[in-house]
């Protein structure tokens, strides 16, 4: 577990690396999340001060976007597309199957901390639906058997 001093040092590095950029807050939050797996609460006032924004503003931005997490996700993140093209090929059924297999609902993590299940709205794989993403790797034509295989891979 990183202590606050380590977080602060890394956040300072990230903020410095974005100096001179126009509208740097999203790139900074992305990089902070890439570094820690989430955006630690302690990072927000530090970012706010560096960008001359209020803490409330930074908090507002961080919480507006679905991608940014206040707490770490499970070891693996399984995203299943819920959008229309995937629905037309049975995504609802596949999602229900995945939820039952993992024993979690959307946005939840399995008790062992291995897998977080998240909905996503369109991966641009609409001609090979239903689509999924496992830790950034895209998968097409995800039926019940394939989702079981994906779950077996990450459990």
């Amino acid at each position: 577990m990183l202590d606050e001093a380590a977080i602060s040092a890394r956040v300072a590095e990230i903020v410095t690396a974005h100096q001179g950029m126009e509208g740097p807050l999203l790139p900074i939050l992305h990089e902070v999340q890439a570094a820690f797996g989430h955006v630690p609460q302690a990072a927000l006032p530090q970012i706010a001060e560096a960008l001359r924004m209020t803490r409330a503003e930074v908090h507002g931005v961080m919480t507006f976007y679905h991608d940014f997490r206040a707490a770490p996700a499970g070891k693996h993140v399984l995203k299943l597309c819920r959008a229309e093209a995937c629905q037309s090929m049975g995504a609802d059924r596949v999602a229900a199957h995945a939820q039952a297999s993992l024993g979690v609902d959307w946005h939840e993590t399995t008790p062992d901390g291995r897998v977080t299940l998240e909905p996503v709205f369109c991966l641009g794989l609409c001609a090979c639906a239903p689509a999924a993403m496992v830790d950034g790797r895209v998968v097409g034509r995800v039926d019940e058997a394939r989702v079981d295989a994906l779950i077996a891979e990450v459990r």
Partner: protein
């Protein structure tokens, strides 16, 4: 031996990486020296991963390939499809914007040049901004993001706007379900987008561009970042574009999972590091956009079409199309369809031709029930509307929109009430919260549709009324267009909104 295996996300999602490994192993086993080029996708997603092999008469196609089939690439077999260019699906297209996608190595600027790349920009550096704008106006190009606003007029507004700093922003936040043209272009021919943005910069006097992409597109972002690096190193970007002495810089930004940031003013706020909240218009972004400066915000496909207009002339481009919809449109045929993928053709095909003839009907083999055109804010079209020709005005006449030209096919198992409910639910999840009709209306919409599902027919007029309010009172297309899928489902498929009483009773 030279082979092409797409690096396109759809090809990867269907196993392209495993096919590459198997091909290399098979070549090594046979003692063959194999060069693998990672191209974009040809757009025939049902044939992905599509492997191509250099032959005496052209590239030979094999697909859909699996690791177990790779020996056929060397020996022939049932997966051999013949010459790629002769495949009917590809041959019947008019590929202007997508001419190079799937053909070239997306990250080879030499390959790009060899296939006509940079000709448009070379022409543009010798022209005045006004002359470039006139060419784009004459081409009849309209915004391919969905709004259909004439690109040349938008550029002219920015060109004439006072201000020392101006910006070009490529809206690559392609969040609409059923659309993947931006993704395919960015993964398969990123220099075309870059070239279009530089031309836009020269036309309006902007020296800085941003591509606002999505976190859901990690593969595209890798290609874009590398293409920008190469373009800078080769002098396409930088202090002196192609040695012209004129500057244009470009930066890739990635969104964070907010659908509403595909709306141009929310996108600009996000780019500035703010919440992706919609801005009221006026002022237009063309006058007060990024950081309050005059800004061109164009869809990826609009910008990527500019190079071919400059290269081959605006009259050539305007020579294709129908009515006020000039040029070509990359149709994205998706969902429950047998032959899904990207098909670029002049405007004017009927939905029946697109879905039945090109798409081959449903993947399930069941009858087509509805086609949603234009993403989650687009209407569901019923079979009696399938003769509508593909064009901006033609769809508007059907209370529908072409949007970004994504078409999602549904078979007769689709429950239109459920899909209408989803449209409202999606709006509620993604609403930026700024205006009440969208923020509250979408939540009430879900509740009202649930009432209808429970058999409460009195809720139907309420839903209609709510949709009118959202349509007239929302600040942007999210709240304003969500009524399209809802009302089209209700109007064309009323049985799905009444037959549920039985289910409720069960």
């Amino acid at each position: 031996m030279k082979v092409w295996v797409p690096r396109d996300a759809a090809a990867k999602a269907l196993g392209a990486e495993d096919v590459v490994v198997a091909l290399q192993a098979e070549a090594a086993r046979r003692g063959i020296d194999l060069t693998v080029i990672r191209n974009g996708s040809r757009g025939m997603v049902w044939l992905e991963p599509l492997v191509e092999v250099e032959g005496a008469d052209g590239r030979m196609a094999f697909g859909p390939m699996t690791p177990a089939d790779v020996a056929q690439v060397f020996d022939g077999g049932p997966k051999a499809l013949g010459l790629t260019e002769e495949l009917p699906w590809l041959k019947s297209q008019t590929r202007l914007t997508f001419a190079r996608v799937g053909v070239i190595d997306p990250l080879s600027l030499a390959d790009y040049r060899a296939h006509g790349g940079l000709k448009g920009l070379e022409r543009a550096v010798g022209l005045s901004g006004q002359a470039i704008v006139e060419m784009v106006k004459t081409s009849g190009l309209r915004g391919r993001g969905g709004a259909g606003f004439p690109t040349g007029i938008k550029w002219d507004t920015v060109r004439q706007a006072p201000g020392e700093r101006k910006y070009i922003v490529a809206n690559a936040d392609e969040g609409d379900s059923g659309t993947f043209a931006d993704r395919m272009l960015m993964e398969g021919d990123p220099f075309t987008l870059i070239e279009g943005m530089v031309i836009a910069g020269l036309a309006v006097g902007a020296t800085q561009g941003f591509i606002y992409s999505r976190s859901e597109y990690p593969d595209a972002n890798v290609v874009l970042a590398e293409a920008i690096r190469i373009a800078r190193a080769e002098g396409v970007l930088g202090a002196s574009v192609l040695g012209s002495g004129r500057r244009f810089e470009l930066e890739l930004r990635v969104g964070a999972g907010a659908y509403v940031c595909g709306e141009e003013t929310a996108l600009l706020n996000s780019l500035e590091g703010k919440r992706g909240v919609v801005r009221a218009k006026p002022p237009l972004p063309a006058l007060e956009g990024f950081m309050g400066c005059p800004t061109v915000v164009n869809n990826v496909i609009s910008l990527a079409t500019v190079p071919v207009i400059l290269e081959r002339g605006p009259e050539f481009y305007a020579g294709f199309g129908l009515g006020r919809s000039r040029g070509t449109i990359p149709l994205q045929i998706a969902g429950n369809v047998k032959h899904g993928g990207l098909y670029e053709i002049a405007f004017g095909l009927t939905l029946r031709e697109i879905v039945q003839e090109i798409g081959g009907g449903t993947a399930s083999g069941r009858p087509v029930k509805a086609v949603q055109v234009g993403g989650p804010l687009g209407a569901y079209l019923a079979p009696h509307q399938f003769e509508t020709p593909f064009g901006y005005e033609e769809y508007a006449g059907q209370n529908a929109l072409i949007g970004h030209a994504g078409l999602v096919v549904f078979d007769d198992s689709a429950d239109m009430l459920r899909l209408a409910r989803f449209a409202m639910e999606f709006c509620a999840i993604e609403s930026c919260g700024k205006c009440t009709p969208c923020r509250i209306g979408a939540v009430r919409g879900v509740e009202t549709i649930d009432r209808i599902a429970r058999g409460d027919a009195a809720a139907i007029p309420l839903l209609t009324d709510l949709c009118e309010t959202m349509k007239a009172g929302s600040l942007c297309a999210l709240g304003g267009f969500t009524p399209y899928p809802v009302m089209s489902a209700l109007t064309h498929f009323p049985d799905d909104f009444t037959a549920t009483q039985k289910e409720a009773a069960e």
